[in-house]
Amino acid sequence: MADIYTLGMDLGSTTSKGVVLKNGKEVIGSSIIDAGAGTTGPQRAFEACLKDAGVDRSQISNITATGYGRNSFEPADLVISELSAHALGVHTMYPDARTLLDIGGQDSKVMSIGKNGRLDNFLMNDKCAAGTGRFLEVMAKVLEVGVADLKDLEAKAEQTVSVSSTCTVFAESEVISQLAKGADIPGLVRGICTSVAAKAASLVKRLGVEEPVYMTGGVARNTGVVKALERELGVKITVSQIQQLNGAFGAAVYGFGRVK
């Protein structure tokens, strides 16, 4: 039987991600472009993942889009909500997953997944940047470092300089005044990671924590936040090996199910 290729696109507010899947299982190409819905990002991510996979668009049996920009992505054959895509993605890769926390650039969401892979319940954060990647971006800017450097700084921390978790704007001025007081930078970074974790953990607690807990999304790359979350929730968290690509992967799996 000929191979079946499906393509999933996850068009977030700050990044566009694509995955090409072979026979519903094997990821043969992917792309992450730092430009989200409404920019050239989606198209670029689309072309880049095809190129990475080394397949032509005509070989793709189904294109499924998910994420904030899903409804405006013209090449899509199907669209699914990002929560459904994430649940399907994590279940396919880690069938034992019961709770998934995804923290992206602008939002965070938590999902309970049943034994059969069904999405049982979910919650999304309210209209607030606290507890999302945006919070880390704002703080990195204040500290004049890259977002990717935060995890290395946090690893050096010997103490925690506490930072508020309720409001990004307040927290930003708190961090500025801590800097002015000459606060220990690694300790401050740990405080920032703890703040994101505290906000995200409250969402997880509202839904109910059932182990095993997995984490996806761009913020999962920050080990400082992951460790702080483990402390807040008192459970072990496994970061998905495809992190940011989980939504696109889930969309491609969904497309495969439809083609089959």
Binding site: Y68, I80, S81, L83, D120, F122, M124
Partner: protein, 374 residues
């Protein structure tokens, strides 16, 4: 079919133009009295020959009301007060303001200060509305309000006129209820927005006029063959759920409202006034009997068990909890309700709505996911 569309359009036009309706009433030389939620005895207004005019806020951005209420108060009172200050309700002879929740308790004083040209009729009920002492208190309040309404109207409200008002309102309630059932069995013909607007129209015209229109609509719908729902059947619950954006998203995702427990809709018209007893007492007893809302004190919290019962009876696939942002009574009810529904195996989605909302993308995502879940 064309009768159905014609009637629905007529009712929608009313629901979508409250100010025009008020202008028409005033041009006819009638007086109108504003009625802020919840469950004010507006039958007294009708019995005095005036027109009650519902004030459930509006989808608008507020500016003036923020001088009186903090930003974290619900949008119903914010938008109602804001429109009042901006003169949108000018022409009303008075406004009835119940004191049902903590937010509304401040409304009377703020209204008196901000909207000086429209006098306030305070509407107080007993918290313990179902016990004899509570009913006695409420009866006393309603008699006092009767006097205030008479003064504004310049006429005496006879018992006969009030009994007639109760009858008119009961007839309207029955037709509204009948309509919700017909709308559920004709989801292709009656869109979710049609459904909401047909019901909402009753707040802006004389009740008998609304009854005439909705009855004609019901009769026309009844002879049409039943239609199959495209997707899942849900029960909605909450204070108000008339946002066209929200309803449009539900419609896009194939949902049918099998039944509702919305205070602005069925909760209001499910409870009838007893036409065999003293007409003031009938109003009191109706209030005692209202179930399914967070805004009237109910120590047993029967709203939540009732919700599960409604969902089962309507063979609904799930429940949509439409939370009015910053509404404490609703927030308090959610937790026990969620537990009861979980135990009954009924999936529930909570979304938060605000009449000043402009971006519905997150709600769209939540609703699409809920559809997949069901």
């Amino acid at each position: 079919m064309s009768d159905v569309r014609k009637n629905m359009d007529a009712l929608r036009a009313i629901a979508e133009s409250p100010r025009k309706q008020l202008d028409r009433v005033l041009a006819e030389g009638k007086k109108a009295v504003g009625v802020i939620p919840y469950f004010a005895p507006e039958e007294l207004v009708y019995a005095a020959g005036m027109v009650p005019f519902g004030m459930w806020g509006a989808e608008t951005q507020v500016s003036e009301s923020k001088r009186y209420f903090p930003a974290f108060y619900c949008s119903i009172i914010h938008t109602a007060l804001d429109l009042g200050i901006k003169g949108e309700y000018d022409g009303l002879s008075a406004v009835m303001i119940p004191l049902t929740c903590d937010t509304l308790k401040g409304m009377g004083a703020n209204w008196r200060y901000g909207v000086k040209n429209i006098p306030v009729i305070d509407v107080a009920y007993a918290q313990n509305r179902t016990i004899p002492a509570g009913e006695e208190f409420t009866e006393g309040q309603f008699k006092k309000i009767r006097g205030q309404v008479e003064e504004i109207a310049g006429v005496k409200i006879t018992d006969m006129a009030l009994a007639k008002a109760n009858k008119v309102y009961n007839e309207n309630r029955k037709e509204c209820l009948r309509f919700t059932e017909l709308a559920a069995s004709h989801p292709q013909t009656v869109s979710l927005t049609d459904r909401a607007m047909v019901l909402k129209a009753r707040y802006f015209v004389e009740r008998d006029a609304h009854t005439a229109l909705i009855k004609e609509l019901n009769d026309a719908l009844e002879v049409l063959p039943e239609e199959k729902a495209k997707g899942s059947r849900i029960v909605t619950t909450g204070i108000i759920a008339d946002s066209p954006e929200l309803l449009g998203i539900l419609q896009d995702n194939g949902f049918t409202i099998a039944a509702d427990q919305i205070t602005h809709e069925s909760v209001d018209f499910r409870s009838l006034a007893d036409e065999t007893i003293d007409p003031v007492m009938a109003l009191v007893k109706r209030l005692s009997g209202i179930k399914g809302t967070s805004v009237l004190f109910d120590p047993a919290k029967s709203r939540n068990t009732e919700l599960a019962e409604i969902a089962k009876a309507a063979k609904a696939d799930g429940v949509l909890w439409v939370l009015t942002k910053f509404c404490d009574p609703e927030e308090f009810d959610y937790v026990p309700a969620k537990k009861i529904l979980d135990e009954a195996g009924i999936p529930m989605l909570q979304i938060e709505i605000d009449q000043q909302m402009v971006n519905y993308e997150q709600i769209r995502t939540a609703i699409e996911t809920f559809k997949d879940m069901l």
